[in-house]
């Protein structure tokens, strides 16, 4: 499905995740998230935010898994207590097909309920931290995207509080938005949970800096969509490694 979209499009295509991807189902726990990291590498993810489930096997296991990631894990408001510095890069800038996309990550305080997170991490106020990083992201970007693990209501509140965010890809709760929620000049999208849906947003940015013609599609990843054979093999290989 992702390959089809990339092959068919002249415009830049980004593949993003709003967090809580790595851990939950049996195989993902046994492999400490590596099966998902490898799958995301194979699918060509560009960036992900982090949620509490991602740290469920412990912070060190998460960081080990992320060493193998070929995509950025972004979190502007998660700080290591030991160093006082952000645990991950606060944002990433992706340049693709002539467009520049600034992608900030923001996590919710539920991150601290995971394993050893509360003794090693602090979660800063999302609104203040996004406001802090926004000017430098804005300078480098045509489109500013936030990957938010604040839940849908939290993502809407972020859009309400911070001017200058173009798109928020929301996660942390399970809503499936069949059309985008517009909060001021910000579009908020969210695509369900458990890998059952893929969200698609097609949108333009005019020279004046306004988003135009947003079109949302929710693709249900049902049995009628054939498994990618390489990914299916990857999962089988992991099942052999972690019976």
């Amino acid at each position: 499905m992702i390959k089809q979209v990339r092959d068919a499009s002249k415009d830049p295509v980004l593949l993003l995740d709003a967090g809580n991807a790595l851990i939950g189902q049996d195989l993902s726990m046994k492999s400490k998230g590596m099966v998902i990291v490898d799958a995301m590498n194979a699918m060509g993810y560009d960036a992900m935010a982090i949620g509490g489930l991602d740290l469920q096997e412990g912070l060190d296991a998460f960081l080990d898994a992320m060493k193998e990631a070929r995509f950025a894990a972004v979190a502007c408001n998660v700080v290591s207590i030991a160093s006082g510095k952000p645990l991950l890069q606060p944002y990433t800038i992706i340049q693709r097909n002539g467009g520049r996309f600034g992608i900030l990550g923001v996590s919710g305080s539920d991150l601290l309920t995971a394993a050893d997170a509360s003794s090693r991490l602090k979660v800063l106020d999302a609104v203040e931290t996004v406001r802090q990083y926004l000017p430098e992201v804005r300078k480098q970007s045509d489109v500013v995207i936030v990957l938010s693990q604040l839940g849908l209501e939290g993502s809407k509140a972020l859009a309400e509080a911070v001017t200058g965010l173009d798109i928020i890809v929301s996660g942390g709760t399970t809503e499936l938005l069949e059309s985008p929620v517009q909060v001021g000049d910000t579009l908020v999208v969210q695509a369900g949970y458990n890998g059952e849906w893929l969200g698609r947003l097609d949108v333009g940015l005019a020279s004046a800096g306004k988003l135009t013609e947003p079109k949302v599609q929710i693709i249900t990843l049902g049995p009628e969509i054939a498994d990618d054979p390489d990914l299916a093999q990857l999962v089988e290989d992991y099942k052999q490694l972690f019976p």
Binding site: G19, V35, N194, R200
Partner: protein, 48 residues
Amino acid sequence: MTRQSYFKTLLAFTLLAVCVAACAPKRGPVKVTILHTNDVRGYTNPCG
């Protein structure tokens, strides 16, 4: 204010506005397709 100083002031403000517009970060135009997921929760096969 004399006519000459009025036009000098107007010219200064006009030049200032042009400079601000020219120096403002430029955005777009661009189109993008964003494919997105959230809360996949480790599922490798959601259909079974």
